[in-house]
């Protein structure tokens, strides 16, 4: 196959994966919608009085269950397509496909989906599926908006720190994504729990404490990776590439801010036993600052990262 053909396959696989992931999101949304509908029907039945109660819980719970399973299956398909896209992109460009924002986003979402699926397999966390799919779609959209054709690296990236730095940062970002998804659901659930109003949709999710723990675990894995990628490998490379290890370039500033927010999160959780809402907010702020350092900086800032122009 020629390089152009590989590049074509990569693009098609990316578009197909985006569509499949969108369908996965729809499946999870349907799962929630059905859960709500069932509950509404139950309510109606109660208020309209002595009509013979049909057993809705028995045959509709499997419907939500089925949608959940469809969602996970579609996510597996999307992850496989994305992996194909990443690999063929690498073959087309004849290098590790992490050389620009488009490839960074593509590979990042791939890893995030695989991480999520691994967690589904081990801890049955398919309840975060909808939010993971939604976040994944947003990031795929961001990276599509920065699409560049596959090609060789610019000289600035010709260094083995390229693979080290970018893959560590990307892996951390993928974990941050899963952690943030769990925190979003946690916040919604804990709000309902505190009002003693856990609706039928939320009842499908595990208890708030379980979500909180998942968020913590994933973030605790992501943080050392982030530290290594952004604050160790990044500065070492920056020394060789730009002649200074830290220069308060916008990307560096935001990487630093992200680091502080997540450090605050972990610190508070580990020492003060600061579980719960405040920690979840911290985690979400951290994710937003991460997205900003990935994407916002490239939009607003001028910087030395070669794509930030």
């Amino acid at each position: 196959m020629t390089l152009e053909q590989y590049a074509q396959i990569s693009n098609y696989a990316m578009v197909a994966a985006t569509c499949v992931l969108a369908l996965a999101f729809v499946a999870h949304a349907a799962e929630w919608a059905f859960a709500r509908k069932v509950a509404d029907e139950e309510k109606e039945l109660v208020t309209t009085g002595p009509t013979p109660p049909s057993p809705p819980t028995e045959d509709t719970t499997p419907v939500t269950e089925r949608f959940s399973r469809v969602g996970v299956t579609l996510t597996i398909l999307a992850a496989a397509l994305l992996a194909i896209s990443v690999i063929t992109r690498g073959l087309a460009a004849e290098r590790v496909p992490l050389g620009n924002m488009y490839e960074f986003g593509l590979a990042g979402v791939t890893v995030a989906l695989i991480t999520y699926l691994g967690l589904v397999w081990k801890y049955q966390v398919q309840w975060v599926g909808g939010v993971v799919a939604a976040f994944g779609l947003v990031i795929l959209g961001m990276s599509l908006s920065t699409y560049v054709p596959a090609g060789p690296l610019v000289p600035a990236l010709d260094s083995y720190w390229f693979e080290i730095h970018v893959s560590a940062v990307m892996l951390a970002g993928a974990f941050f994504l899963v952690g943030a998804a769990a925190s979003v659901l946690y916040l919604i659930r804990v709000r309902a729990e505190s009002k003693d109003n856990v609706g039928p949709v939320l009842r499908r999710f595990p208890a708030a404490a379980v979500m909180d723990k998942l968020a913590y675990r994933v973030n605790a894995m992501a943080f050392p990776l982030w530290t290594f990628g952004a604050l160790i490998a990044g500065p070492i490379w920056a020394h060789y590439a730009w002649g200074r290890y830290w220069g308060w370039d916008p990307k560096e500033v935001w990487a630093f801010i992200t680091w502080i927010v997540y450090a605050g999160y972990l610190h508070a959780r580990a020492t003060a036993g600061w579980k719960g809402r405040r920690a979840a907010y911290f985690c979400l702020i951290g994710f937003v600052t991460f997205l900003f350092s990935y994407y916002g900086v490239n939009l607003f800032g001028s910087g030395l990262h070669s794509y930030a122009k």
């Binding site: 560049v148 054709p149 090609g151 000289p155 060789y240 590439a241 002649g243 200074r244 500033v253 036993g273």
Partner: protein
């Protein structure tokens, strides 16, 4: 009581102590760390002098009223502004005050023996009891064996014995290491900022650079750096190689940049060769030389109306973007009868779609180099003593030269071509050279922050992952009246970081312990 009178009762000494205690609480340190992050934000939104001085200039032109106000707040050099430094220093002070006293606490905790058992196990997150025919000593020995990688003390009590065990001391060590590392990083960065220097210079092929202040286009140094003491190296740019992707979807993207230089580390040394490229600087004693950019420097020769060669030099044209469309200025103060100034563009690969269509450049490599200039005559303003940038033409005392149609005169030249000037004389595009944009920098103690972050990361991981756990076993004997001896055993577990697995772990620990003791029992019975 009125709070103000109460406050006034504090002696200055007490007040200082109070301030110190506030400043050195962990909460203040965390707050200052967050504040540092927030304070870093404006610098990522407003262009910074230290990062991109040209954009700052452009900002001043675009926002003539806003810019001076922002400047007064230090917004164009946030990271060296007094308020940013103040936060940094307070953070450092706070961390010192917060960590140094803790070092001894942490160190003592590292060597501490497991604490004594609480009286009542039922308040612990995990506890359980059983009875066995094994002796107290056997229970203690079995317990000791079951608790692997755990610090264990066994103490005799009135009724039997107590086993105290604790594991997870690495967490304390990790904590200690992490916090000390933060200090190391801050100190290292501060040293780097105070004693560093960084400058940039554009050097044309065939030209040399010697490391003195006057040779820099831009120079920044830390407040404690003595710029008279710049290390005395020098170099000559023999060749600047720039290659671009010739075809394919990435046509025109940079492919290889390399500056071949000859350098001497000290005056009089034997010159050495080196190939500087991006990611591969030339490291010298007291400074590293980096290649951070390149561009074109056409060699221009100007003769004036009297036939004298009044200008003959390579002129640096600054690239405006990735297409290497470049802008430059030629000042000819020696021209007679009037001084001359030229301003215009350089295009590495010029194409023109037709006679009327404007010329543009389509490729960054020099395939069809063309310069397009306009011309001014008058006073360049060089003699009034105010320093002037070589990249801008001061036109207030000059008039633009027009062509026969009354339009501004356009001069367009390819290498080797020359054109006659309206007032007499010629301008010639003699040759095309390249220039290298070099950055020379030295940051002392750069391994300090690196070591700090790396070691700190290891410490942090230890303190996040190690889960300290305390286990106590109390064993007492009693006679059950028939003369048989029974030992009752109670076990308590405390996780200092609450965990959901505690009951399960305890369950399996109890089962294991009972099984071990039971096999002891049978082996005792078997011989009989």
């Amino acid at each position: 009581m009125n709070p103000s009178t109460q406050a006034s009762e504090l002696t200055p000494r007490e007040f200082t102590r109070w301030i110190w205690r506030q400043l050195t609480s962990m909460r203040t340190a965390l707050f200052l760390l967050l504040l540092l992050a927030v304070a870093a934000v404006p610098g990522s939104l407003v262009p910074q002098r230290g990062v991109d001085a040209r954009t700052v200039q452009a900002f001043f032109q675009d926002h003539p009223t806003l810019a001076p106000a922002l400047d007064a707040l230090g917004m164009f050099s946030v990271y060296s502004s007094p308020w940013f430094s103040a936060i940094y220093l307070l953070l450092m002070l706070s961390l010192v005050g917060c960590i140094v006293p803790r070092i001894s606490v942490y160190a003592r905790a590292l060597r501490a023996r497991p604490p004594r058992a609480p009286r009542n196990f039922s308040r612990l997150p995990g506890s359980g009891t059983f009875t066995t025919t094994a002796s107290v000593d056997e229970v203690m020995a079995a317990g000791r064996r079951a608790l692997v990688r755990t610090r264990v003390d066994v103490v005799q009590t009135d009724a039997g014995a107590e086993l105290r065990a604790e594991k997870g001391y690495l967490r304390e060590l990790g904590n200690l290491v992490f916090h000390v590392s933060i200090l190391v990083v801050l100190v290292g960065v501060a040293i780097g900022a105070l004693w560093s220097y960084r400058g940039a210079a554009m050097v044309t092929e065939g030209d040399g650079f010697s490391n003195t202040l006057s040779q820099y286009d831009e120079f920044n140094s830390g407040p404690l750096y003595d710029s008279d003491a710049l290390p005395p190296f020098g170099l000559l740019v023999d060749r600047m190689i720039a290659e671009f992707q010739p075809e394919g979807p990435q046509r025109g993207a940079p492919k290889r940049f390399q500056a071949n230089v000859t350098y001497t580390e000290n005056p009089g040394d034997k010159p050495q060769r080196y190939e500087i490229s991006v990611n591969s600087p030339l490291s010298l004693d007291g400074g590293d030389v980096f290649l951070i950019g390149q561009g074109y420097a056409p060699v221009i020769r100007v003769t004036d109306a009297e036939g004298e060669i009044v200008f003959d030099d390579a002129v640096i044209f600054l690239p405006q973007d990735g297409s290497y469309l470049s802008e430059g200025v030629i000042k000819v103060p020696d021209a007679a009868p009037e001084q001359l100034g030229f301003q215009g563009f350089f295009m590495p690969t010029a194409v023109s779609a037709g006679d009327d269509a404007p010329t543009r450049t389509v490729y960054p490599g020099a395939v069809n180099p063309v310069i397009g200039l306009r011309m001014w005559t008058g006073d360049l303003g060089l003699d009034d003593g105010t320093p002037q940038s070589v990249y801008t033409l001061q036109k207030d005392q000059m008039t633009e030269v027009l062509d026969d149609n009354g339009e501004p005169l356009n001069i367009s030249l390819s290498p080797g071509q020359s054109q006659t000037l309206p007032g007499g004389g010629t301008i010639e595009f003699v040759d095309l050279r390249r220039f290298a944009r070099l950055q020379i920098a030295d940051v002392p103690a750069k391994s300090l922050p690196l070591a700090g972050v790396s070691v700190g990361l290891i410490g942090l991981m230890a303190s996040l992952m190690v889960r300290p756990r305390r286990t106590w076993i109390k064993a007492t004997t009693r006679n059950d009246g028939t003369g048989a001896r029974l030992t009752s055993v109670s076990v308590g577990v405390l996780d200092r970081v609450p965990r959901d697995e505690t009951p399960i772990d305890l369950e399996s620990f109890l089962t294991d312990l009972q099984e071990t003791l039971a096999t002891l029992d049978t082996s005792k019975e078997n011989p009989t």
